[in-house]
């Protein structure tokens, strides 16, 4: 029977300090819940033995900081030493990394306990997590529905309250979109705020690691633990890591907030608009200015994003050739056959399609026609966003155009999955921090989220607004718990 897992992290910490609770006891509850919610298919690998051993080690030490002894899940595209990391692909079905990603080292140092690796779209390519080689995770609010993706397993597990914390990755909305569909908090930090060392690369100029959690405060706590400069990722920022919880709970008044007009255009469904408009009215009522703002090229964001993402992916995924690690075809006669058969048999259809198109977009004269042009327009888009922050403290928008839909729907229309991400892609294009905050529900009681987009390295201010809205909206987000 659960007693402790629904407490807040500071409450759990207090019990640890008073020696009224141990990490092993908390883990028992986690594993009970994993077992009880097996149908969610949110984990690819559960590391029960390793977690229990880690808990016993921790119990020999003094209690550490707030995150000490807190169970955590990691997306299965982030490498974990000695623990299978598959990227939800047959290609890496049996891959055991020999080093830890930067964020994994960080969580271990802070005393968190890794309990499993989460399900996802294969190589993070997808928006519903249905491209997983291990079958799709389910939305805990209604298991007939998608979780979103690609960090669908994280979203499912957090919404089901299996653990308080998880780490996902976001290349074109992969943290925020599933967070929106499942009623959880998901932050994609500024590009460079969190090291990508050990994140299996999809599109290197867009990928970013970030926290997915139950609440705003817990999200900021986890970002505190994983942010920072890393010598192994030269794109990680040397800017000092702030305390991201510092502004949480502070009053929100006299803020100037912009809404990118395309992100509230007729691409957004009525049910999502209603929830979003309610938030806008709430902010105005509390003395904040909320206005529409034009950001260039948002209408074309999906085309631009796909050119860059598929191009970079085709180059990054060239390393899966059956030579050094991962799947290898049986008895290839030549080296070319080894490459071509391995990749044909090891990758799923979605991944293969994107690699093929990406390869051709980068080949010959296409490189100039597509890739270079996309990078130029991307620069203009970022400039347009940065100019808006001269006038506005923060931007807000819906996260998704609709709430979650039923499993299987997208397979009928492969392009739907791309258009689903139209509201979340722009932040990746511009390298800006953006987060999802649960904002309401539709008539079927499925969660609807909203985004807060910040200026570069403006995460603390975003958490301030998010925590204010979290308190004011006071939503019951326990519907994923059964």
């Amino acid at each position: 029977m659960s007693k402790y897992l629904d407490l807040t992290i500071p409450e759990i910490h207090e019990l640890y300090v008073k020696k009224e609770l141990t990490p092993s006891i908390l883990l028992e509850e986690v594993f009970e819940r994993i077992k009880a919610r097996k149908s969610l298919n949110c984990l690819i690998t559960c590391c029960q033995e390793e977690a229990l051993e880690r808990a016993r080690e921790l119990e020999k030490e003094e209690v550490g900081g707030l995150l000490w002894g807190i169970p955590i899940l990691i997306k299965d595209n982030i490498v974990t030493k000695g623990i299978r990391t598959t990227c939800a692909s047959k290609m890496l079905e049996n891959f055991i990394p020999i080093y830890d990603a930067f964020v994994v080292e960080k969580i271990k140092k802070a005393g968190m306990i890794l309990v499993g690796k989460t399900n996802m779209d294969e190589f993070a390519m997808g928006s519903t997590s249905e491209t997983s080689y291990f079958g799709p995770p389910k939305n805990p609010w209604n298991e007939a529905y998608i979780t979103g993706g690609s960090s669908g397993g994280n979203a499912s597990a957090i919404a089901a309250r299996i653990v308080p914390l998880s780490i996902g990755s976001d290349t074109g909305g992969s943290i925020r979109q599933p967070a929106s569909y499942t009623g959880i908090v998901g932050m994609k930090p500024t590009y460079g705020r969190v090291s990508r060392y050990g994140l299996i690369a999809f599109a290197s100029s867009l990928d970013q690691i970030g926290p997915m959690t139950r609440t705003v405060y817990e999200n900021a706590l986890l970002l505190n633990a994983i942010a920072g400069k890393d010598q192994n990722d030269l794109t990680s920022s040397s800017k000092e890591v702030e305390d991201y919880t510092a502004l949480i709970g502070k009053d929100v008044r006299d803020l100037k907030i912009g809404i990118p007009s395309y992100l509230v255009s007729d691409v957004v469904s009525k049910e999502v608009s209603e929830v979003f408009n309610h938030v806008v009215n709430l902010l105005k009522k509390n003395g904040n200015t909320v206005e529409l703002v034009d950001i260039s090229y948002l209408k074309h964001a999906v085309s631009l994003y796909q050119i860059i993402a598929m191009g970079e992916a085709s180059s990054n995924l060239a390393r899966f050739d059956g030579v050094r690690y991962g799947y290898r075809t049986e008895n290839p006669e030549t080296i070319d056959a080894l490459y071509e058969k391995t990749r044909s048999e090891g990758f799923g259809e979605e991944v293969k399609s994107r690699i093929m198109v990406g390869s051709s977009l980068l080949s010959g004269k296409n490189a100039k026609l597509y890739y270079d042009k996309a990078l130029s327009i991307r620069d203009d888009m970022r400039e347009s966003f940065l100019a808006s922050f001269q006038k506005y403290d923060l931007l807000i928008a819906p996260t998704t155009t609709t709430p979650a839909y039923q499993l299987g729907e997208v397979m009928k229309d492969p392009l739907k999955t791309f258009m689903d991400d139209i509201l979340v892609i722009p932040a990746n294009m511009a390298g800006l921090p953006a987060m999802n905050l649960p904002a309401g529900f539709n008539q079927n009681h499925l969660p609807i989220g909203m985004q807060i987009i910040g200026a570069p390295f403006g995460e603390a201010k975003m958490y301030q607004l998010a925590s204010f809205l979290e308190k004011e909206l006071n939503l019951d987000l326990e519907g994923g718990r059964k």
Binding site: Y191, Q231, I335
Partner: protein, 97 residues
């Protein structure tokens, strides 16, 4: 909806070093055609500046010091290789005798 020719599918599959069977080619003609149709939206855009954004990073990327640090040992590197002879990774012969 745009549909690629059989030759076009074979060409991009070769670029990507992915083998496609004759049965698969048909489904890729439509699937890849749809992706091209989406990215072709870029041709509508005019009047943009020439400056390219290679990365969102604005800081000057500094290289770390050239010092010997932690290294991986051979046995662990080979541990994930699909085929080894104990010391080296094995692949089909690439040099003609």
């Amino acid at each position: 909806m745009k549909k690629l020719s059989v030759e076009e599918v074979k060409h991009v599959a070769h670029l990507a070093r992915i083998q496609v069977s004759d049965e698969e080619i048909e489904s890729y003609r439509t699937r890849l055609g749809a992706l091209y149709e989406m990215v072709d939206g870029i041709h509508e855009i005019e009047g943009y500046s020439e400056e390219m954004m290679i990365t969102p990073v604005e800081e000057v990327c500094s290289l770390r010091k050239d010092e010997v640090g932690a290294m991986l040992d051979g046995a662990s590197v080979l541990s994930n290789a699909p085929k080894t002879n104990g010391k080296f990774i094995e692949v089909p012969v690439v040099i003609n005798e």
